[in-house]
């Protein structure tokens, strides 16, 4: 299980929407064009693969910042943003 910050810069609206939608399947949107993800090796490969199919290599960019546990401990959140993963207990 690894944790990433994912940010994107997509020029075309239609592509951006598709990529956003895809990212929502694997990651939690935390800010405009910034996501946080906690992924297993398999999910990570899958996501990268799917992204590479949507991406236009000459125009768009997506960056995965891998976070080690020390980086994670160092995250400071100000304002209206909580840890997107919380305690992982969802009760309906």
């Amino acid at each position: 299980m690894k944790q990433y910050i994912i940010s994107y810069d997509i020029t075309n609206d239609k592509r951006r929407n598709k990529i956003r939608k895809l990212l929502c399947d694997y990651a939690v949107p935390v800010q405009y064009s910034v996501f946080e993800a906690r992924l297993s090796e398999e999910d990570y490969i899958m996501l990268r693969h799917k992204l590479s199919r949507l991406l236009r290599k000459d125009e768009d960019s997506i960056i995965f910042y891998l976070q080690c546990s020390r980086c994670r401990d160092g995250i400071i959140r100000l304002g209206n943003c909580s840890d997107p993963f919380g305690d992982g207990i969802y009760i309906v």
Binding site: D25, A27, E42, H49, S52, G88
Partner: protein, 544 residues
């Protein structure tokens, strides 16, 4: 001799697994003998063809024709496999594709050499060299198939055959090579080494795969759908939750909740645990993918079950675990209570534990277990603080008669789901147990292993719920002569229970920090290693 040939014929090995044998023979054992899943990596790699094709395009050489994914097998070596690329021009040679950066690796060399030897057999033509292409550095490395390398292939095959025929598990490496190994949770290299060398403690914990991320749905009439790769929980057009599947390890559906078949497929495919429980806390069952391939373990389990002596031995360890942890619970609470009756119960339980060893049969053992449990529950009510207006005199089930019993029963059902999962993940037959009778269609093995965890995980959740005042009188309903948790009560219990199972403790044997959730899986894995005779003597999980 003839017999020998027959056995040899049965063992065709995948080329990749034989190459891995040089890296770790134990890894080979798990994959080939126990049928450990290769995780999903390989399947995924196939799907990633597109990305790979891009890379390869640049590789095609002038005057060479490329064929991809060629199946080969060798009768001489008893090997089969897939060659990523065969290039044919002036010469013919295999090219193996690797994800990472260019590196010298004997495994990789042995792998292409074995592929070449199989190709030679197929084509009747000598192949002197091959290549390994490293996607990370976009470069290929030449490998010369000389006598030494060919000999190495033959030796690796010999080693593979020995392991497969003897069925003996090679010892763990237990060094930094284990770090990236996909099988580390099954293998437990450091723990096994520690146990074998009798110097526990100096062990590093391995991160668990299951992070205990869980979704409970106890909204009657709600439905779960798949949307993209996410789970959607809705009812009457109201959206309750929308969670990416990759953020969930377990789903618990309580009572009348609907699940779409698309989602079921997805859960099965991902290996997400799904459990069904009634609103009264009765455990119904779980979604389970096809039976695991670990037949070696199931055979060992059945064999141990047949042997009365061995069966009794394990059974008595489960009882010892349960009673010892009950006693510890009482001792812990009595530090502040200083109650004489509790003291007495503690010493009575202690005496019973001493007699476990001498129990001659399962009946006697069950008798002792019953006596110990009665002693424990006779004072359990004293652990509940005065201000809680609940009566508790003795354990009652089916139905529970009072709030404390209702909470205990409910808590045990939640624990049962996790023990059942552990038992299945390891590859046991859940229905063959040692202490519990296996003839009532009950998950007897899970009921065995649950014993040592009842006091530490489930009972303590109940005591927290009551003593911290989280659960109050209004959280119960009286129905049909029994006492049950109401919906709000249940939802409080889910949270308390989940928080407890995620709690970190110092492992009593290995000394590392680990969650209760992981200790359950560890116990199941140890039992498996004991049954398959890798380590001696099952030891229950005892808290201090």
């Amino acid at each position: 001799m003839a017999e020998h040939n027959i056995s040899n014929e049965q063992h065709y090995f995948p080329i990749s697994s034989v190459a891995e044998i040089l890296y770790c023979p134990r890894n080979f054992y798990y994959r080939v003998v126990e049928g450990a899943e290769d995780s999903n990596h390989h399947l995924l790699e196939g799907k990633l063809q597109e990305e790979r094709r891009d890379e390869r395009q640049r590789l095609v050489r002038e005057g060479y024709r490329q064929d991809r994914s060629i199946h080969v097998s060798s009768e001489k070596l008893n090997l089969y496999g897939i060659v990523d690329i065969v290039e044919q021009g002036k010469e013919i040679y295999p090219v193996e594709y690797k994800k990472g950066f260019r590196k010298e690796s004997l495994n990789d060399d042995v792998q292409v050499c074995a592929q070449a030897m199989a190709l030679e057999e197929k084509l009747g033509q000598d192949i002197n060299r091959g290549y390994i292409y490293y996607a990370g550095s976009k470069a290929r490395r030449e490998v010369i198939f000389d006598e030494d390398l060919r000999l190495m292939v033959e030796n690796a095959v010999g080693l593979a055959r020995n392991i497969a025929l003897s069925g003996e598990i090679p010892p763990p490496l237990a060094d930094n090579r284990c770090e990236g190994c996909a099988l580390v949770n099954r293998c437990l290299p450091f723990e096994v080494k520690g146990i074998k060398e009798n110097k526990a403690k100096a062990v590093r914990p391995q991160p668990g795969i299951n992070l205990g991320r869980v979704l409970y749905v106890d909204e009657q009439g709600a439905s779960l759908y798949k949307k993209g790769e996410r789970v959607l929980v809705t009812k009457d057009q109201i959206k309750f939750k929308d969670i990416p599947l990759c953020n969930l390890d377990q789903v618990v559906l309580v009572g009348n909740v609907n699940l779409s078949s698309q989602l079921i497929k997805l859960f099965l495919g991902r290996g997400t645990e799904v459990h069904f429980i009634s609103t009264k806390g009765k455990y119904y069952g779980c979604l389970q993918a096809a039976l695991s391939k670990n037949s070696v373990l199931r055979i060992a389990q059945h064999r141990a079950y047949q042997k009365q002596e061995e069966r009794l031995l394990y059974a008595s360890e489960f009882v010892r675990g349960k009673l010892s942890n009950m006693r510890t619970n009482l001792l812990r609470y009595n530090r502040s209570l200083n109650n004489h009756s509790i003291d007495e119960a503690v010493s009575r339980i202690k005496n019973i534990i001493k007699r476990l060893e001498k129990a001659k049969d399962l009946n006697e053992l069950m008798g002792l277990e019953g006596a110990g449990s009665r002693d424990y529950f006779s004072v359990f009510g004293l652990l509940i603080k005065d201000r809680v207006p609940f009566d508790f005199n003795k354990r009652s089930r089916r139905p529970p008669e009072d709030p404390a019993n209702a909470l205990l029963s409910f808590s045990y059902s939640l624990l049962l789901k996790d023990v059942i999962t552990a038992v299945q993940v390891v590859g046991f037959d859940p229905f063959i147990g040692f202490l519990h009778r296996s003839d009532f269609g009950r998950p007897a093995l899970a009921l065995d292993i649950i014993e040592e965890f009842r006091p530490v995980v489930a009972d303590s959740v109940v005591l927290t719920a009551l003593n911290k005042g989280v659960i109050a009188e209004g959280d119960f309903e009286y129905r049909m002569g029994g006492c049950f948790l109401s919906e709000t009560g249940r939802k409080k219990m889910y949270r308390l229970y989940e928080e407890r199972r995620k709690e970190m403790i110092t492992h009593p044997v290995f000394g590392y920090r680990i969650s209760y959730l992981r200790t359950i899986e560890l116990q199941a894995r140890f039992l498996a290693k004991v049954l398959t005779k890798e380590i001696d003597g099952y030891k229950p999980f005892l808290v201090r």
